[in-house]
Symmetry: D4
């Protein structure tokens, strides 16, 4: 099968989980294209006003950037084969849960990635997930299995 | 117009915001049917094992209940005309953000309801919302306007 | 056939075309439910800030109201069996053309209603329409024919 | 990410905004494919009769061309990732608003491009837009940010 | 089960097959709502020009009526539970085959009703049908079975 | 909430599980409409030839009945809020698994009902289910909880 | 624009209209991929029994082939950008009208191709068409215009 | 036509039917991409716990693997042009029937492949199928005909 799988990496932008998945995918030589949101925090916050003009009110400042970013995230989630949704230790990351709900409604399967301490708070999000991973490595192993049938060593 | 509007009330279950909207809708005599998740916290957590049998592992305990509850929430959100998504002061309420993402993907319009302190963390959720309210009263006023064209006093 | 037909009346709010259709429908005793946007111009412009709070910037003032109104118009257009889109002599009425495009994409059939002088400018909008009427009476006649098979006298 | 983004440029055909976006995209070396309607005004008006035979009645003359052009515009808008909708100083350009409504119903994100003087008349069209740009340069900057994460200089 | 089944009767308008089905449904007391196109041949041909104005060219005369009639047929076929498509001895009745293709694409099940002499010419239409009936009585028997489980006497 | 929930009961027709659910629903006074396939085995097998004429070849005999029955099952599954899929001790009941796959693709939530001995063979069907019940009583309890929030005694 | 347009050629298989379009497309050097049904009449009639075994009853003989052919035609029509539907002088060609109805429901634009004598009988099929051509040359000219903006010489 | 057809091979994993189809496709030089589930029985059963951690309860052991496998099967069935569903002599293979129901709801045409002894039990699954084959060779012949128009020798 010559298929390339598109995996959208949603959520936390303060740890290196995306890099670790990218590395794992590379080492394993998987036919995978990784996509995701803009992960430069400051740019993601300010892109709207930087391009379309300043807003004195912080609500609209945020709004302009969020609407702009949504053009990227919405497009890429919709064309993803699989979404990985990461919830980190800090921050509320409602946008990650929003992406999960969006994926669920679109019938795009997703894997959650988070520590066990969030299990109860994330029970609804996990209930619609195809799997819950604890480490980026498990995500890579899942992709290797799904695509090539390779079982973990 | 003889239409009855169905409004799904998603999110926080620890304050009386649903009751206040219900009261406002009643006082204003709006042709509205309010729906929502099961709001008895303990039942919502334990329904799965109470009906289908105990689980020693908390993850599957949660899973069974969450899957069961999702049959209700998924059905009711999909048939709602409008969803109101409430984020309270406490708890992470990822399920509320999940519902918002689900509604967005379904093209069901939603109104967020939360204090200003969450504005930045909720910017992606608000960007896809039709409005952001600060009080249950504003939600009732919005419904009164949308349905009957009544402006607030 | 006991069916009630829902007809959404989109566009111009400065002449009495909606009233004339309502009267015609009543006189002809058609099983029709007429829906439409809020037609009180000032309320339609100011509802957003009146309910959710003032905006110093006119763009966001408009935005808040337009987002709010869209919850009504989007819901009602989607459940209409037929949309009537009226373009008057004055104003640009881009919102009417927007509604026509929305209806076309939703496969909801629509009838345009406008004077011949707009024929060339509206050729794309008319090309996707099921009919082009010149008077409210013709719209009523079309409904009477569609629903009851009654030919015009 | 090796993705090519398809951007449909809808609306005004009397100024050079399409060329300026094309130039900006080229200079910035963006992986973008620009599409759009036939922009030769006379051909767009007369294609139907030129190919399928003359019509004495101007209404059907227009109709034949508009139906033919719609095969191109409908196909290309549906496969676009993003639509840019331009409203110029002159003309009513109801077709641009029609395209915006079509894109909105299709969940294709769009950016409007117009001078501030149209803000109020376009409030419904802008309310469903992901962004409102004032210059072609801003559109190019938005694409550069969305695709490559590049912030404006 | 308190359900009312909506059955759209498409095709031939020159024999009494619709009346025979209506009678059978009434005699059997089935919870069925029968719908269909306008079956007054002259009105169906001339409704467009009678309402919206004469056309010297027969093609546009036909076009105006056909576009108008399509608002009824399209709406009713889409909400039908089952479509019955009748091909008579005379005429080409391409519109009946068109309705069958439309129903097939909409996943609305349909029963064809025609004499055996058309079997070969209708093989593609029958291949997508749920059943092929030879008499109106068989259609009524099928409805009685589907709805009430009643087997033919 | 005045909603009536439609529950489709799919699968085994050789035990009284449907009656037990019907009884439970009645005793509990749930606002539920139960639907399902024709459960008279002989009629379900022979309806096609009884109505449309005998077939010497058993394959087409079966085919005619199965196509006819599918008009009922397809329509009712699509409008169900919840499907219950029962696998009994005997028979292969591939049609029950087919209904489950159909419901899954339609995003209609379903509950499986079967003894533990089938757990492994049904793992794919259960993986897409909202719950797995062992007794009709558990199904009734789940409905009571979903609809009224009533926990089992 | 580097796009390749896929054009499905439906209908009559007894004249050389497909070859003439293929030639025109080649001469004009259009980026077009032509698809269509199997046009070898005997094979199209007998493929089912040739592969899966003989049928004594002509109805099932036809049925097996028609079901098999539908896998090709359904797949290719669904992925076509434009469908051309040809009605010839002879035969009823209900399958062509069926394809037109299927395309209409799928929102795939189509062009009809037939002599004027069929205009009245095809009025419903033409009413949903984007254009009506009289010669294969006009179809090629329409494609050249739609794709490259080339007007006929 | 330069199209590559994607064929998903669902069902039995205990005989060499997939290999025989692969061989036939290779010998006939068909432009076909074959896809399917993971066919290593043990891996398919244990992948979930091997990657995400052991489960003492066999139900959840199965569940974790089945949910993981569903990400592959769901994705590949949805993008298949045609599905072949194989029912073998042994085992219940409810997952094969589930895939057939899923494909039916998705409007993906499928061919069943099974011995005649299962005809009656599979009548519902066959009723929605495009063809029923008895040998892998017949499947290859059907593909050769569908794609290239080649009749069996």
């Amino acid at each position: 099968m010559s298929r390339i799988w598109t995996i959208y990496l949603s959520g936390e932008i303060h740890s290196d989980w995306r890099e670790r998945i990218a590395e794992g995918v590379k080492v394993t030589n998987l036919p995978v294209e990784l996509t995701g949101p803009n992960t430069v925090h400051a740019d993601s916050d300010d892109c709207g006003v930087a391009i379309f003009g300043a807003e004195p009110d912080k609500f609209w400042h945020d709004h302009k950037s969020a609407r702009l970013n949504a053009m990227r995230t919405g497009t890429l989630i919709q064309e993803a084969d699989i979404v990985v949704v990461r919830f980190g230790e800090k921050y509320k990351q409602w946008n990650a849960a929003f992406d999960a709900g969006f994926a669920a409604a679109m019938d795009t399967p997703y894997i959650t990635l988070h520590p066990t301490e969030h299990d109860h708070a994330l029970k609804e999000v996990n209930a619609a997930a195809s799997a819950t991973a604890r480490t980026p490595d498990q995500v890579v192993q899942a992709l290797a299995y799904l695509i090539n049938g390779t079982m973990p060593a």
